[in-house]
Amino acid sequence: MLDIQNLNVVFGTGRLRVEAVKNVSFSVDAGESYGLVGESGSGKSTVLRAICGLAPITGGNVRVDGKEVTTPRSRDFYRTVQMVFQDPYASLHPRHTVDRTLSEPLAIHGEKDAETRILQALKEVGLGPSFRFRYPHQLSGGQRQRIAIARALILRPKVLLLDEPTSALDASVQAEILNLLDDLRRRMGLTYILVSHDLAVVAHLCERLLVMRHGEAVEETASNALRSGKAMSEYTQSLIQASQGFTRHPSQPAHAPIV
């Protein structure tokens, strides 16, 4: 479904040149869920942004559904690939009602039947029609993220790029959104690429994952291997340890030096 070979992303030139992503390759099958894990600055979000055209592809290939992506991305591309952003407080237009937010992608792609599509999209994400004419400030964080997911799904894409979809949410709401994503994937046969710093979330939602650090791939592993805790790099081990809460006497984790 998605095939990425030797992806490089470079921002700036000369002294300001930053290599955000260096030679990252992975491929994701249709219906699979793939995770990208790492700390901030590891380039995991940049990979997602490069896929959907929000960051430049400096080198390498990105193939979606067997076809090389074009720059700028075509309208067809956005029918196949949609993105859900981290912060639902920032990603929804504060002066647009839910109805307007959801009808915009339909209008851009010349879809008919906006009315029924919107009602159905709301139903899919577990919200009733009563939410249709609300503004984002009249919704809770979890409801906003549901609207953001509904907006991404309304064009019936095959691939959903999820950039930290639950890190701005409370633990109990996070569980609801994770269940929703799990359920939608099964029902619609979606392919997910999930970016998160939380190993437990990635292991829950994804079958395979790539650990990244300083723009490079550290290792690709499966969630099952992660659970059983075998054959992993030192860095992944330190991430696992950090995800298990604070320990008073650490066994010297191999954390990144803070610069």
Binding site: E39, S40, G141, S172, N179, H204, A242, G245, F246
Partner: protein, 278 residues
């Protein structure tokens, strides 16, 4: 332990809004010695407002009432502004969530620490400077001299938060209130910041109130945990007995986290019982 460091009895924080009165904190009581107390809850549970009310930092038009609110025997409700100024930053300090917003962007980190120190201690600039450098070293900055002359935007989040901790601890407070000190940081970095905080608190024998939404983190870091829901403390327990939590809310919070150890699907969600909020 002879006398508690902080006594809070029936603390209430009210906001008079156009739409009516909102009670953000509704009758919170606890006592704190020189120990690590965690306050956990979801957004809107009143945990941050509790921390702010102790310091008298409730934003207007908020209104704070309590049967008793005392620090080291000093009644904070009747204390003069002068006494409060002396306490705040001097004997009680607060570490805020995001170093990006809570550090002064137009002052170097060193100047800010010196300012905090000299506001509470009679010291010459040179003394204050030595103290600030020593403090930066205490929070494990690799090159204190360099960090001293940097502006907040020139340092990373983890460094900013450590600078903030340095600034808050330079006056040797008796009580530190940390409001989500690591939620703006990365997992690996936040462990490091916590470790530094833990060492300093233990070394100096301070009391610590650690406010967070992360139950797992709080229970591994603190001695005692208060769980808040809708402005009330629904459960108080020893951190190591967290697994034996009685209240359905605490149990729900524990269960809804995905874990690496086992694969539960769908994740149990929290069914909020309206009676919890009563």
């Amino acid at each position: 332990m002879t006398k508690p460091l902080l006594e809070v009895d029936d603390l209430r924080v009210r906001f008079h809004l156009r739409t009516g009165i909102v009670e953000a904190v509704r009758g919170v009581s606890f006592q704190l010695g020189r120990e690590r107390l965690g306050i956990v809850g979801e957004s809107g549970s009143g945990k941050s407002q509790t921390g702010r009310a102790i310091l008298g930092l409730t934003p207007p038009p908020g209104e704070v009432t309590a049967k008793r609110l005392a620090f080291d025997g000093i009644d904070l409700q009747t204390a003069s502004k002068r006494t409060l100024r002396h306490l705040r930053g001097g004997r009680i300090s607060m570490v805020m969530q995001d170093p990006k917003y809570s550090l002064n962007p137009v002052m170097t980190i060193g100047e800010q620490i010196i300012e905090a120190y000299r506001a509470h201690a009679r010291a010459s600039r040179a003394e204050a400077r030595d103290k600030a450098l020593a403090m930066l070293e205490a929070v494990k900055m690799r090159d204190p001299g360099r960090v001293f002359s940097l502006y907040p935007h020139e340092v990373s989040g983890g460094m900013g938060q450590r600078a903030m901790i340095a600034m808050m601890l330079v006056t040797d407070p008796d009580l530190l209130i940390a409001d989500e000190p690591t939620s703006a940081l990365d997992v690996t970095v936040s462990m490091e910041v916590l470790r530094i905080l833990d060492e300093l608190v233990a070394e100096r024998g301070m009391g610590l109130i650690f406010i967070s939404h992360d139950l797992k983190l709080v229970s591994s870091f603190c001695d005692r945990v208060l769980v808040m829901y809708a402005g009330r403390v629904v459960e108080e327990l020893e951190a190591r007995n967290l697994r034996e939590a009685k209240h359905p809310y605490t149990q729900g919070l524990m269960r809804c986290l995905p874990t690496l150890a086992d694969d539960v699907r769908p994740l149990p969600t929290l069914n909020r019982d309206p009676s919890w909020a009563l």
